[in-house]
Amino acid sequence: MTRSVIELPVSADDRRIARLAALAIGLTLAEAAIPSPLPGVKPGLANIVILLVLLQHGWRAAAWVSALRVLAGGLLFGSLFTPGFWLSAAGALVSLAVLALVRHLPSRHFSPISLSVLAAFGHIGGQLALASWWLLPGAALLKLLPVFAAAALIFGAVNGIIVARVLAAPASDRRQSAPCLRP
């Protein structure tokens, strides 16, 4: 019997993305414990991580972290490939697309708060678009649109303020840039 060894070289980039994705997944799990009056109205704490990654490591890294978060979240909740998973994926996808555009806004006038609010609108927009096209065709969702939009505005702004504060904090305070512990 021949044994073959497959070596997968792991770069520092991979480790960083894995670490940040773990952080995002942790926040996703934590916020699932928060009761919500309406499915879909969530603080979206993981988006804080996504936005930080975008601003510090670029869009590619943010897309990786977001994709890993959606996938691992689906595994951990046992909702992989269920409608809830696809809604989450659609939201993440549209939110990333929005971020790809609005990250080029001049940072002199637009702080992370703008990016966060716009990404939150993109997130809920993507989810609702998929839900109304696939799960609930018809006018049923129309009545809830204001609730979702208001939640996106509020939570987007709060998350953006958190991102702005984290970015403004001295580097030693930043959990994200703590040295990576290697086994």
Binding site: L105, P106, R108, H109, F110, S111, P112, I113, S114, V117, L118, F121, L142, K143, L144, L145, P146, A149, A150, A152, L153, G156, A157, G160, I161, A164, R165, A168
Partner: protein, 120 residues
């Protein structure tokens, strides 16, 4: 401060969008006509322009309907549970208060009917 000029614009635009959506999704059309029925027959159709009261007789007794500019309600009704009275003022097109035991109903209509027909 972290808030910059563009943020303010984004937040204001977002708030404006939310308000627009709210009006669009929740703001029904205000009605301008009250239709009163007894035992399924229309007994009165009146515009919601001036204050007036109507008394309609049904099997249990007299139902009193009060009309005011822009709104209408069942003021008194002999039905035991008083559901139509508790509904209070009706303002939106398509709203209706039914006093079933007394077979009296009050319906608000606008320029466009919210429903083609209501059967009860």
């Amino acid at each position: 401060m972290w808030l910059r000029a563009g943020d303010l614009a984004v937040l204001l635009a977002g708030a404006g969008g939310v308000v627009t959506l709210t009006l669009f999704a929740w703001g029904g059309e205000h009605g301008d006509t009250a239709v009163i029925r007894a035992a399924g027959q229309v007994v009165e159709t009146t515009p919601l322009t001036r204050a007036q009261t109507f008394s309609v007789n049904g099997p249990l007794g007299t139902t009193q309907i009060e009309i005011q500019p822009g709104r209408a309600r069942i003021a008194r009704d002999p039905s035991p549970r008083q559901l139509c009275v508790k509904q209070g003022w009706l303002t939106q097109s398509g709203q209706a208060a039914l006093c079933l035991p007394n077979q009296v109903s009050l319906e608000i209509r606008g320029r466009r009917a919210a429903y083609d027909t209501l059967g009860y």
